[in-house]
């Protein structure tokens, strides 16, 4: 184990999988960067957040493909290459740009296997940076896992720490279905222990970050660390929680949620996404449908409001569920306050 940033962990996974399988290619805007620039550098960017840095040097421009700003064609390129036998890792610089490429994701890659009678596979990873935290405003800050998880045929995962980032990206690349791989941009520089050498983690299945008795707190992505902060404060008052890192929003690990709920009787869901038709509402529905007998209090959802992501620092701070709001929500669930 070595302490690394999430950015480094993701980069390591890409090197690992590209070395392992010559069919793995990386496609996107500025994934190396500098093509046609006056400095002559062919690795000038390595992706806008540096995740694909250095790949060009080892694998060359046949496997590390800088594209024009053409999101539909980027995903189309991945789709066709996958149908024809490769394992593309496409990058959409910001998850928000999915709007431009939506047909290729929603109508095409998600449905190939099913529509084509099970005879086609689409082993594609679409990496996207997502989330608020950089004041990047309404078109560069969204968390789109709720929307994409509603599409049958897509797998959607959200790593919350560097070890998972490495292991889950490797697993996503090896998976035979299309995987939307969402990287929270406020976590790229976050650090954690990462297994050295070849490492693959389960792609799906939630993880129990800490256990307690008073409530089940289900969360994901950047919210995991916020919820842990809230839990630490509550522990001082004798309130302890099961903290579940969802990791995957499609499929969702119902079993772990329901088992925890059966022990705590109370459910708090913390989700950075908008609340309507969201992962938070999906988990509340699972609890209502399959865990009703365990519930001793109403489910509490802590989410962003039903608004676009605002720009100003003060507004974004209010928009994103912070540790204080999470703490208050858990108190409410436990004490009915």
């Amino acid at each position: 184990m070595t302490v690394k940033t999430m950015r480094e962990a993701l980069n390591e996974a890409l090197f690992q999988e590209m070395r392992r399988d010559p069919g793995v290619i990386v496609i996107g805007e500025d994934v190396s960067g500098g093509a046609g620039g006056s400095s002559g550098s062919r690795d000038a960017a390595g992706g806008i957040f540096g995740v694909t840095k250095g790949l060009m040097g080892e694998f060359g421009d046949k496997r590390v493909i800088d594209t024009p700003i053409s999101e539909s064609a980027i995903i189309g390129l991945a789709n066709g290459a996958a149908l024809a036998g490769m394992r593309p890792v496409a990058e959409l610089m910001f998850a928000d740009f999915v709007g431009v490429a939506m047909d290729q994701i929603y109508n095409q890659m998600a449905k190939f296997r099913y529509m084509f009678g099970g005879k086609a596979k689409a082993p594609i990873v679409v990496r996207m940076s997502m989330g608020a935290g950089m004041n990047a405003a309404a078109q560069h800050s969204q968390t789109i896992y709720s929307m994409l998880s509603a599409v049958p045929g897509l797998k959607v995962v959200v790593p919350s720490n560097p070890a998972d980032a490495k292991g889950m990206l490797a697993a996503a690349i090896r998976d035979d279905d299309p995987v939307i791989f969402l990287e929270h941009k406020a976590l790229y520089s976050s650090k954690g222990e990462v297994p050295d050498g070849e490492y693959v983690a389960p792609l799906h299945g939630a993880s129990l970050v800490q256990s307690g008795k008073d409530a089940t707190v289900v969360t994901l992505g950047r919210m995991v660390s916020f919820a842990a902060k809230a839990a630490a404060k509550l522990a001082g008052d004798g309130i302890t929680v099961d903290l579940i890192d969802l990791r995957s929003t499609s499929p969702i690990d119902e079993e772990m949620i329901l088992e925890s709920l059966s022990l705590t009787g109370r459910l708090v869901v913390v989700d950075e996404s908008n609340p309507v038709c969201s992962i938070a509402s999906e988990i509340a529905a699972i609890a209502a449908e399959k865990g009703f007998a365990s519930l001793r209090a109403p489910v509490v959802r802590v989410t962003a409001p039903h608004t676009p992501v605002p720009f100003a620092r003060e507004l974004e701070r209010m928009y994103v569920p912070g540790p204080d709001r999470i703490e208050a929500a858990i108190r409410k669930a436990v004490k009915g306050e």
């Binding site: 500098g34 024009p68 700003i69 539909s72 405003a137 560069h140 605002p310």
Partner: protein, 321 residues
């Protein structure tokens, strides 16, 4: 096209306003006071101003992530823009949009845009209104070399041709699409490609206000004659990175320096009008000083302006909330 002294002084003032606005933001960004992503327009002033000096509030433009120059040239209030970029409640968009989403519909400014290729289809819709009004008004989309490769832009061009709309597609080639050279990303001759869509192309030197202004006059004549849409393509450069903080490893060290020394739009403008004895250097100096003081004051007032509160976050999602 002949321009009056008043016109020339106004154009210079607008270009100077954009330059100082952007140069100041470059400095303020480093201080950490400005949040989010800021994409600066400095180096391309002649294009925004050369085009927008022909337009009134009845005409529409759509812009890009690199939108400050277009906004100023189209008549957005630079002070309110500064407040917006500082994320203030009294900013042009109440602090909700920031640098990338400045808009002022009353001025015909349909928004900067965070999505490359997002603007041109919107401007095509505005052109439909111009056509219906029949008052000679037009819609203009600004886009870079990057947007010229987006399917949305191809569709918008074809749609405008099919509907014969009063629409001008402006492509500003600043050499780069984010961190990649335009020469790499644009796989064919952009002028020829645009003509292939059925759009006549007017070309201009994007460092030269007078060249752009003339090309826009020609483009407007075409469009207002009811001949349908056309394009204006101009090359310039951006003095700063794709966004503030971009290390620009894709760029040769002296590229900007050389262009600033030899091609700078404001220097060339000044040289041209003073050598032709149209304007005294002192008049331009006075504008420079006045705008420097104005920008200083905009920053000071932006710093003092109130932060937005929760009511601003929770309103305007719909008409009734």
């Amino acid at each position: 096209m002949q321009q009056s002294r008043t016109d020339i002084l106004k154009a210079y003032r607008q270009m100077r306003m954009i330059r100082d606005f952007e140069e100041r933001l470059h400095i303020e960004n480093r201080s950490g006071e400005i949040a989010g992503f800021t994409h600066l327009y400095a180096g391309q002033e002649a294009i925004a101003v050369g085009i927008c000096e022909h337009l009134t509030d009845r005409d529409y433009i759509s812009s890009t992530h690199r939108g400050h120059g277009h906004c100023i040239a189209k008549g957005c209030d630079p002070r309110l823009m500064m407040h917006e970029i500082y994320g203030r409640a009294d900013g042009l968009c109440k602090g909700r949009g920031g640098s990338m989403h400045i808009a002022d519909i009353d001025k015909g400014m349909l928004g900067a845009n965070g999505i490359v290729g997002g603007g041109p289809p919107i401007a095509v819709g505005a052109a439909l209104v111009c056509q219906a009004r029949g008052d000679g008004s037009v819609a203009v989309s600004f886009g870079g070399g990057g947007s010229s490769n987006q399917g949305t832009v191809f569709e918008a061009m074809n749609m405008a041709v099919v509907l014969k709309l009063p629409k001008i597609f402006v492509f500003e080639l600043n050499g780069y699409s984010e961190h990649t050279g335009e020469g790499y990303g644009i796989g064919s001759d952009l002028v020829g490609r645009t003509r292939g869509f059925g759009l006549p192309v007017f070309e201009a030197d994007g460092f030269d206000y007078f060249s752009v202004h003339q090309a826009m006059a020609d483009a407007l004549e075409h469009v207002r004659a009811g001949k349908g849409p056309c394009a204006l393509i101009a090359e310039a450069t951006r003095y700063f990175g794709h966004f503030e903080g971009d290390p620009q490893n894709y760029r040769a060290k002296d590229e900007v320096k050389t262009l600033r020394e030899t091609q700078d739009a404001l220097l060339r403008f000044r040289r041209k009008v003073t050598e032709a004895k149209l304007i005294e250097a002192a008049e331009l100096d006075a504008i420079d000083a006045e705008i420097a003081a104005f920008i200083e004051d905009c920053v000071a007032s932006a710093r003092k302006a109130p932060a937005p509160g929760v009511e601003i976050m929770l309103s305007d999602v719909y008409a009734d909330y």
